[in-house]
């Protein structure tokens, strides 16, 4: 028996696996994905709570009643680790009872209502001027990422992404003031005769 070669051959790196394709969320997610308090990221009664709300609209300008909006953001202190407990369960009944009233999980999920409207209640994101959003809908074969830039947030003017988007479309990424601590953010999946389409993002 001969001795082993002085150096073992370098292991060949495994081929990069190919991604699983996206498919539409379809019309019947309603009893599966939305959960109690899904849009209420802010602990109840928190004085810094802000409301982010709007419509999801299609290329005819009509509301999309079967969309889901998910939100992800840093905690007010800038931490980006999130926390478990968005879908906290009752150990006795198994029902979703929602967040404990203390922890900020950073994650929210709301289905649009019959008017295509969604509402999130959250705390200001720390360190960035935006809340990251994903839209899913029947008819949408692959979800879309966008950001709701809060019109009154510090850091809005220096933002690199906003700087890269032309002025006409930039406005689609910025909330409109709509009352005290209330931000209006409509999501247009497709431009219509009168409206710019929301800027959607590619992360490469």
């Amino acid at each position: 028996m001969t001795s082993a070669p002085p150096t073992a051959p370098a292991p060949t790196p495994p081929a990069e696996p190919s991604p699983t394709p996206s498919q539409t969320v379809g019309p019947f997610y309603g009893y599966a994905l939305p959960f109690t308090g899904g849009g209420d990221l802010a602990p109840p009664g928190h004085p810094d709570t802000l409301t982010l709300h709007g419509h999801v609209l299609d290329g005819a300008g009509l509301p999309v009643p079967d969309a889901i909006v998910e939100a992800w953001q840093p905690a007010p202190d800038g931490s980006r680790t999130g926390a478990p407990g968005s879908l906290r369960r009752d150990p006795v009944t198994g029902a979703v009872i929602g967040r404990d009233t203390v922890t900020f999980t950073g994650f929210g999920r709301v289905a649009t209502d019959a008017d295509g409207h969604f509402t999130l209640r959250t705390l200001p994101p720390g360190g960035v001027p935006y809340i990251s959003l994903i839209v899913f809908a029947r008819g949408l074969l692959h979800h879309l990422h966008t950001r709701a830039y809060l019109h009154d947030a510090p850091g809005l003017t220096g933002d690199t992404l906003l700087a890269r988007v032309g002025p006409a479309r930039r406005a689609t990424l910025i909330t409109r003031p709509d009352g005290p601590r209330t931000h209006r953010f409509d999501i247009r999946l497709q431009s219509d005769d009168q409206h710019e389409e929301t800027v959607f993002l590619d992360f490469g």
Binding site: P19, P21, Y29, A60, V64, G82, L141, S191, E197
Partner: protein
Amino acid sequence: MTIPLTQEAISAEIAGHRERYGEHLARGGAPSSHPDRAYAPYRGSLLRHPRQPLVAAGDPEMVELTGPAFGVTDVTELDHDLTRQHTGEPLGERITVAGRVLDRNGRPVRGQLVEIWQANASGRYAHRRDQHPAPLDPHFTGVGRCLTDDRGAYRFVTIRPGAYPWRNHANAWRPAHIHFSLFGTAFTQRLVTQMYFPGDPLFAYDPILQSVTDDAARERLIATYDHTLSVPEWSLGYRWDIVLDGPAATWIEEGRA
């Protein structure tokens, strides 16, 4: 009254998209795993896709390189077994669906939330807007959740869903499928998709599955029958591994080792 679209018309459109994709590849174009959002054979997509190209968000500090966390409080022990959520056994063929969730580098996605929903064995969803006149099953809702383990593995026990009709065109039927929702370590890795069963004769007719025009990518949506996953006297097993696209949160993970 408008004449309903025929399957022949939809199938011709599907063939047209495949042909154009073949030409794109022949010109040296990059293969694409995901459906084109503007895929007319799926009529619901017509007014619901952006016309403008997506804008690159290339910023190394971006929030989307991190993502939501889930844990033991978000899932109960029974959530992965859709056959045990009611007092009785659901009707249908009991199956196990198992696999691993990986990122683009082949690394397991650990401790993340996997959610599924599906029609019952008759092809009916427990959803008020599903008007398909097939029977509801009082012992089946069709919703499951679990967390991936240290290997990125997930496992569900359920029943095989039935095919169901829809109104895309005349005589449109969806092949049997289970809807999946997945989270990665980054929000950029988010995936909602559908798993199909091998050998379904409806594949060629379905514009939602065919929206994935790349043959190899479409195959990745179809589970494999795995006899080693079948449980004697109990259930048949299907294996389906999932690879999440998009950049992972490597800059965070360095600190986690």
